[in-house]
């Protein structure tokens, strides 16, 4: 794993089925909107020894016609929405700040949990991303300091604390510890 600069990590990893699934979905998604991968999958991509049944993705808000085009292409590529079938219903969920899930036909796991930018931390996550370069494409993840702060300050479950500890160890020479503390302070004031 090479931390090339603050915005780029190169991982010459053997791709897992979860990586392949995520790359395949993102290849379609990025044609229609900006996105960022957050939460558990970030630590898994960076080597954490656990699995996740879903991959959390935050996207910029999109208008209905853009969503229609995205949904059409997803369906063409054998994806379906677990929450609803009608595109207007799915769009309504997103508009109401609800997350929607997409999986490959006849499967529920793994799935993509898609949600719109909702508040300033989502905005921060999507505006300050890191490109992870893999053998079959790139993925955009949230900056690691924000991920660690969110997991340690807000989520706090054993799984999330372990995710944070994993990231802190693998990226220990590259993390801005003051920034983690700054984010924690901001999160405390927000939640």
């Amino acid at each position: 794993m090479k931390f090339i600069d603050k915005k780029t990590i190169e991982i010459n990893r053997e791709l897992s089925e979860l990586d392949k699934f995520t790359l395949d979905f993102v290849k379609i998604l990025k044609k229609y909107t900006n996105y960022v991968l957050v939460s558990g999958y970030v630590s898994i991509l960076l080597g954490r020894a656990r699995v996740s049944e879903d991959v959390d993705v935050i996207i910029q808000r999109i208008d209905f016609s853009t969503f229609q085009a995205l949904y059409k292409e997803l369906k063409k590529n054998n994806y379906y929405c677990l929450n609803a079938e009608k595109e207007s219903t799915i769009y309504d969920y997103l508009s109401n700040n609800l997350a929607v899930r997409f999986a490959k036909k006849d499967k529920t796991i793994p799935n993509i949990e898609l949600k719109w930018v909702k508040h300033k931390f989502d905005k921060l996550a999507i505006e300050d991303t890191i490109d992870v370069k893999l053998s079959k494409g790139d993925l955009k993840i949230s900056n690691l300091e924000l991920q660690i702060a969110f997991k340690e300050e807000i989520l706090k479950s054993p799984k999330d604390l372990d995710d944070a500890n994993h990231i802190k160890e693998v990226a220990k020479e590259y993390l801005d510890k003051k920034l983690i503390q700054k984010y924690k302070g901001m999160l405390r004031g927000f939640y």
Binding site: S16, L18, L82, A84, A99, T108, V170
Partner: protein
Amino acid sequence: MGFIEENEKERKSFVRKWAKYVRTHSDKDWSKQQNVIINSALKSANMTREQFFKMKGETNFVKYKDYR
């Protein structure tokens, strides 16, 4: 030390040791081992939509607004 504390200590120690392994070994090396866990778990995952949403606690197939 009770069972829960002992278990937590062991888990944290494993996370630390594994992360150190990832940092000090080639990507091919650690990812090959990691993929045994990921790929076998995904292969055996077999849930209906109803079971999945029940597991996630997402009533009526949707999550409440204060997600994340």
